[in-house]
């Protein structure tokens, strides 16, 4: 009997869950999950599951603590959405954790949040194919929609293919987002390469 897991699962039940993910770092997951949450708007809760960087609160400029009420951690409010970040628990301390504690901290970031009034939960996931992905599966029973973020670079596409393949095996709905495709500085330049590799990946996995 695990109260933490039970509570986390119950908090997500009946809510729409969108996970912004990648096997690769620095592809724009935090930027895109923030923009996505803001564009869905009212009733959306953004949870930063990257427990080591806590980048999303920094993107929005938050450096305060989460209030704790009877319903749990109160989300920060910004642009009509809610935000939950581990930085609202640890202040400006670093978070350095052995592997198996990472999953439990992630479970806590879901379990102990006041989700009242939120219909959609957007997860900003860290890079990798590890505890973060396995925890997401545990807590949602694979009932989530996946936005897989990549840059156009060949290396990034090859790395991201691992995640695409895995999610296909687990029958999770996925959408590929190709970020940083070009840069307009008076003319169009493509610092991370052209779009063909990403198109090919998308086609190969439907």
């Amino acid at each position: 009997m695990e109260p933490l897991r039970q509570l986390a699962e119950d908090k997500l039940k009946g809510r729409k869950v969108i996970a912004v993910m990648s096997a690769k770092g620095g592809v724009g997951k935090s930027v895109i999950s923030s923009l996505l949450a803001l564009s869905i708007g009212k009733g959306t809760l953004l949870i930063d599951m990257d427990v080591h960087t806590m980048a999303t609160a920094k993107l929005f400029g938050f450096n305060s603590m989460h209030n704790v009420g009877k319903g749990g951690l109160e989300p920060f409010s910004v642009g009509g959405i809610g935000l939950i970040s581990l930085s609202g628990v640890v202040k400006d301390n670093y978070v350095l954790l052995p592997g198996n504690n990472v999953g439990k901290v992630m479970e806590s970031l879901v379990a102990y949040v006041n989700m009242e009034g939120f219909k959609t939960v957007v997860f900003d996931l860290p890079p990798g194919l590890g505890e973060e992905l396995l925890t997401l599966e545990r807590l949602t029973g694979n009932r989530f929609t996946s936005l897989i973020v990549t840059t156009p670079s060949k290396v990034s596409i090859k790395v991201v293919e691992y995640l695409v393949r895995y999610l296909k095996e687990r029958r999770v709905n996925g959408f590929l987002v190709v970020n940083m495709s070009y840069f307009n500085c008076g003319k169009i330049v493509r610092p991370f390469g052209g779009i063909d590799e990403a198109k090919s990946l998308s086609e190969r996995y439907g």
Partner: protein
């Protein structure tokens, strides 16, 4: 205030278990809690008694056992007890106040505590989860739970 979320988790866990096993009335729930969380038992019981209403736990009592953690360093092999890191714990609590990180999330303990011999955060923590230890079912006696 975090005690309310903890009570919520306990009630949901035991309620789900009761329904799955066709038990209609729970009379006692015993939980184990890491003592370094400094959860307040009075508030926890108050929250439990409020949240349990209308569930199979409606007439149950909550028993709380605080458990002392032990730590093993994966860097140098040193083992130490919670008492030995009292100073580190007090230092963190004074920085944060009541809702300090290990109150909210005991799994963060390796990040805030370090080995007394080598200073590493690479700690394996024995007792860091809030666990339901025993449940008493009306007409069935006490059942020790398994994770």
């Amino acid at each position: 205030m975090h005690e309310w979320s903890v009570a919520d988790g306990i009630v949901r866990t035991v309620s789900t278990w009761a329904r799955e096993n066709n038990f209609s009335e729970i009379t006692m729930v015993k939980v184990g809690i890491p003592s370094f969380t400094f959860l307040e038992v009075d508030i926890l019981k108050e929250a439990f008694n409020e949240i349990k209403k209308g569930t199979p736990l409606n007439n149950s009592t909550l028993e709380v056992e605080f458990l002392s953690a032990s730590f093993k360093c994966r860097n140098c092999g040193n083992s130490f007890s919670e008492d030995q890191v009292r100073e580190q714990l007090d230092s963190i609590r004074s920085e944060f106040g009541e809702e300090y990180p290990l109150h909210l999330m005991p799994a963060l303990s390796p990040s805030f505590l370090s080995c007394l011999r080598c200073g590493s955060h690479d700690l394996v923590v024995e007792v860091q989860d809030i666990m339901v230890k025993e449940v008493e079912v009306k007409g069935h006696g006490t059942i020790k739970t398994v994770s």
